[in-house]
Assembly symmetry: C2
Homo-oligomer: 230 residues x 2
DNA sequence: TAATTTTGTGTAAACTTCACACAAAAAATG
DNA sequence: CATTTTTTGTGTGAAGTTTACACAAAATTA
């Protein structure tokens, strides 16, 4: 996309994509933010995003951006809303197609010539400019909606993990607490996990069993839905 | 929005909204389509839609359009996806922010100076141009996803209706059949309906009880979710 | 060796789902 | 007018799920 002169009979808005990148550190959900390198709002934290190029779809744009910021390909991303209030951006009329992404924090390596980025826990976010707080809030609401009825975790946890880690993830996203015994029973009952018959110390106390997701049943439950309610 | 000359440093796509308007005739789900009045694809059926004006949000645009086509205000609409493939529209780069609406067919009166519109059952759709078949399919998929976990019907059924009508609506959307006795028991058990202690003949046989939605519990179940599974 | 923390597993009561059946209301048939 | 047909309202028991709660074993710390 080159700077030049483009003339139209009717006014047109700018179109951008923004991405809420979620990661999990074992305890809390975190979000990746970038520091703006230019005006307006230079040095403020914002969601990573950028303008849509004429030859790419919104999803391609979001994936490209994700790769720049995290080095990851093949990430799970989901378009969740398009923000279009006329006054949402001080630079003029900008429509933003918003995605959320779920990534394994431990696989993220900061891209090369990339502006300053940082992970922030949901309860320790810096002030966000534009309407990015609204975007983040809606992303979290949609993720919560999803986790209530579909399995989530495949994209956020390492390949092998303990039951405790999965429970912590659910608790972090939903902001509730489950009974350890009932959680484990339900998850095992629906067949979401495969027992690896290995152990690892997740805490400095008794070692815990390791599990991985059962891809077949993960997919089936994602199709059919399963309700987690305690 | 006036025709004139608008010049920008970078190219910009056009932005439109399209709306999948669902209605229910007591047996089948139907969709409102309009016949194009101009080229390209003159006289083909398409989803109602239009270009976004610079001073309105996408939702305002969709509501405006809905009012033109159906005469309805205060309709339930939901943004469900933005379509952005570069080649989706032969007129150039057009991004479409898509909504679905749920309306009571019997309250729809065709707007005045409005192009030809028609209701079509899902299994008897005409050929749709652009990518409107994809848009319609995704709308239906999202509606199905929603009905699995949240009550639907408030916006599609008349104020008073029989249990059979509600069951038919669920069956029409999901394309499955429920056991009449278990369906009724579950719906009454979750407290979704208020018994009006009136009867009406919905078929030429025994008269059936009339119900209305209990707004309080409808809202609560929409918040909290309830799973319909048989 | 004892104390502490965390893990694995079990049980019973309450509730929900599911499969199925019978009687009553209204209209149609002869 | 009695019989048949279709549709509605309601009920019951077995199977399965959720919920609340308890105890013993593994690993580390003191």
């Amino acid at each position: 996309m080159q700077k030049g002169t483009y003339t139209y009979d009717y006014p047109r808005p700018m179109v951008a994509t923004d991405c809420v990148i979620f990661g999990f550190d074992g305890t809390k959900m975190q979000v990746l933010l970038v520091k703006r390198g230019e005006e307006p709002y230079k040095d403020s934290w914002v969601l990573p995003g950028g303008f849509l190029r004429m030859e790419e779809s919104a999803e391609e744009s979001a994936r490209m951006m994700l790769r720049e910021k995290t080095g990851l390909r093949e990430t799970y991303i989901e378009q969740f809303h398009t923000f279009s209030a006329p006054e949402r951006d001080v630079r003029g009329r900008v429509i933003s197609i918003a995605y959320y992404a779920l990534v394994r924090k431990q696989e993220v390596r900061q891209g090369a010539n990339v502006s300053e980025v940082g992970w922030f826990p949901l309860d320790g976010l810096p002030e966000l400019v534009f309407d990015h707080k609204d975007i983040l809030d809606m992303a979290l609401a949609k993720l919560r909606e999803r986790i209530m009825f579909q399995p989530v975790g495949f994209d956020l946890l390492p390949e092998k993990f303990t039951m405790r880690a999965l429970q912590s993830l659910y608790e972090a996203i939903l902001g509730v607490e489950f009974d350890r015994r009932n959680f484990s029973k339900k998850i095992l009952h629906v067949g979401l996990l495969t027992d690896l018959n290995e152990s690892a110390r997740s805490t400095p106390k008794r070692m815990a069993k390791l599990y991985k997701f059962n891809a077949e049943s993960y997919g089936r439950l994602k199709e059919k839905g399963f309700r987690l309610e305690f």
